[in-house]
């Protein structure tokens, strides 16, 4: 069970991104966190596995207080928390299989990881998971050869391979087209059922949240302003979450960062050429 109490985060800039947020998640619940851009959704997710350090409050996972762990203990705790990222966050130059197996890095020795010599069960599990997410036969492809939807499936497979107690997903669909977004959401909900673990998903599009989530949490200006079932999310509630902003999600997609264009300053042709040679096909498509 994930239990969050009075969680708060003030950034170095003085920005109060998260304020007194408390809620519990358990079972195989799919929880959608909605809210306008800048509401603190990413901060919330990242405070749970401490990619961002919270400044107040507690996060407990099955009784362990994550906020007070030492670095070493934190690494052990992170193994039990799967994370899916908005921009996939795959290591582009590694193969699909290496990206998936990297979910086991917390369990194998660095030396084995270095030689890519993972235990047989892990390899089997990786093959099975890739099959499950529909990527059978892509094991040896490099991550940058895949489409956006395929990459996000690899990202999900990597999280699943951790055999986590919970999966966190930070806007997993915001770089994808509507159809692929739906498929990815379906996959995440199915995983919650199959693995009987809760999944906490930040999401921009309210319709997607309604459709897939068992429970919806609304954030505004770092505060929790709504916590209920999709049915309870009526216009009044939406108004509270989005305030003056127009509810309805899809209109609000400009928050998605564009993929980085490859820098092409042509200052030193010969030097540039080495780098161009060394670099592979441009990422993103």
């Amino acid at each position: 069970m994930l239990s969050i109490s009075t969680l708060g985060k003030t950034y170095g800039t003085g920005e109060r991104a998260l304020d007194d947020v408390s809620f519990d998640v358990e079972g195989s619940q799919v929880v959608a966190v909605i809210g306008p851009s800048g509401a603190g959704k990413s901060t919330l997710i990242r405070c749970i596995n401490r990619l961002t350090e919270p400044t107040d409050g507690e996060v407990r996972l099955d009784g362990t207080n994550l906020t007070s762990l030492s670095n070493r203990e934190l690494r052990a705790a992170r193994r039990e928390i799967g994370m899916v990222f908005q921009e996939y966050a795959l290591v582009e130059r590694l193969t699909v299989m290496e990206n998936v197996l990297s979910g086991r890095l917390g369990y194998v020795s660095t030396w084995r990881g270095f030689r890519r010599k993972f235990p047989q069960e892990d390899v089997q599990q990786a093959y099975a998971t890739l099959d499950r997410v529909g990527l059978r036969g892509h094991e040896d492809d490099r991550a940058d050869e895949l489409s956006g939807g395929q990459r996000q499936r690899v990202g999900i497979a990597r999280a699943v391979l951790q055999r986590p107690k919970i999966v966190l997903a930070d806007e997993p669909t915001s770089s994808l087209d509507p159809e692929t977004s739906r498929a990815v959401m379906e996959l995440l909900t199915e995983i919650a059922r199959e693995e009987s673990i809760p999944v906490l998903i930040n999401i921009h599009e309210v319709p997607l949240a309604r459709e897939h989530a068992d429970r919806i949490i609304g954030l505004t200006d770092g505060k929790l302003v709504f916590d209920g079932t999709p049915d309870e999310l009526d216009d009044r509630a939406l108004d509270r979450i989005y305030r003056s902003e127009e509810p309805g999600g899809n209109a609000d997609r400009q928050g998605t960062p564009e993929p980085e264009p490859t820098a092409g300053d042509d200052v030193n042709p010969p030097l540039e050429r080495v780098k161009a040679d060394a670099r592979s096909s441009p990422e993103g498509r």
């Binding site: 390899v123 089997q124 099975a128 499950r132 699943v160 995983i191 200052v267």
Partner: protein, 282 residues
């Protein structure tokens, strides 16, 4: 998580694919590479004693180098300059002049070579000749050409300028040829369709497409020539390098340091001017 099949139906082994023909080839290549490196390190083994002695000499050298002696002193009567200051000044002027003349002459001979080395503009045999010129002029370092030419032309800037001119196609023609190969063929056809001869096609169809790039490359080449001009004097081919070499040979280390600083200043200045103008042009 289980896939569509029972877990034991899946493979238990996975090997990272390799760009080599096989994993065995990979290890052979790696092994050869490491053996080559190891042999080189072994071959170059250096006695510690000599190394330590050298460090001691380095300290002596450094002591002799600071403070640098530019041959300028400030006295009650104002600023006084010695002969050594003017030697630096003359060397720098000569260096600069060499770099400019060599760039103009070098670019002039490189343009036809670039056309010859552009696959889309000339017949095959000509192309091969063009590529050969590029490869040879690229492979020979300016200083090597310089030291040979000094014997033919005597000490002085002429040998240096010729060495730089010789080296220019290896850079300029190579890069320009790559641009020529990328030009838009539709514009060539447009000019050809007016019944223009090959030279007109070059002037009206090709030149406008690559002119900004040519100017940029010329400035860039000047920058490279300026650097090279500062050292050609070490083999007697003109410029400040001769003064530097003499200073080292006569143990005037403080003077050598002054020359070094002057060279660095000139090179950095050249780099700034080159970067700035190239940005403006392109």
């Amino acid at each position: 998580m289980t896939g569509t099949r029972p877990i034991d139906a899946y493979e238990t082994e996975w090997r990272r694919p390799t760009v080599f023909a096989s994993h065995r080839t990979k290890w052979i290549v790696y092994g050869l590479g490491i053996a080559f490196l190891a042999w080189n390190v072994w071959e170059a083994r250096v006695s510690l004693e000599r190394f330590v002695y050298g460090l001691g000499q380095g300290a002596v050298l450094l002591e002799g180098m600071v403070p640098p002696d530019f041959g300028v002193s400030v006295t009650a009567n104002g600023i006084e300059t010695e002969r050594s200051f003017w030697r630096i000044y003359e060397g720098m002027v000569e260096t600069l002049a060499m770099s400019i003349v060599a760039t103009v002459a070098g670019v002039a001979i490189s343009v036809p070579v670039a056309v010859m080395a552009a696959e889309n503009l000339v017949p095959r045999p000509v192309y091969y000749v063009g590529r050969a010129i590029v490869s040879v002029t690229r492979a020979m370092h300016e200083l090597i050409v310089g030291i040979v030419l000094v014997v033919g032309f005597g000490f002085g800037a002429l040998a240096g300028v010729l060495a730089l001119v010789f080296a220019t196609p290896g850079f300029f023609a190579k890069l320009l040829a790559e641009d020529l190969e990328d030009i838009d063929p539709a514009q060539l056809d447009a000019v050809r369709s007016t019944g223009a001869g090959p030279l007109s096609v070059l002037v009206y169809g090709v030149l406008p497409q690559v002119l900004p790039r040519m100017i940029g490359l010329t400035i860039y080449r000047w920058d490279i020539n300026l650097r090279a001009s500062t050292i050609l004097g070490i083999v007697g081919a003109g410029g400040i390098g001769a003064t530097l070499n003499t200073a080292f040979n006569t143990y005037e280390y403080d003077y050598a340091m002054a020359i070094l600083l002057a060279i660095i200043a000139l090179v950095v200045l050249g780099e700034i001017i080159s970067a700035y103008t190239r940005r403006r042009v392109q």
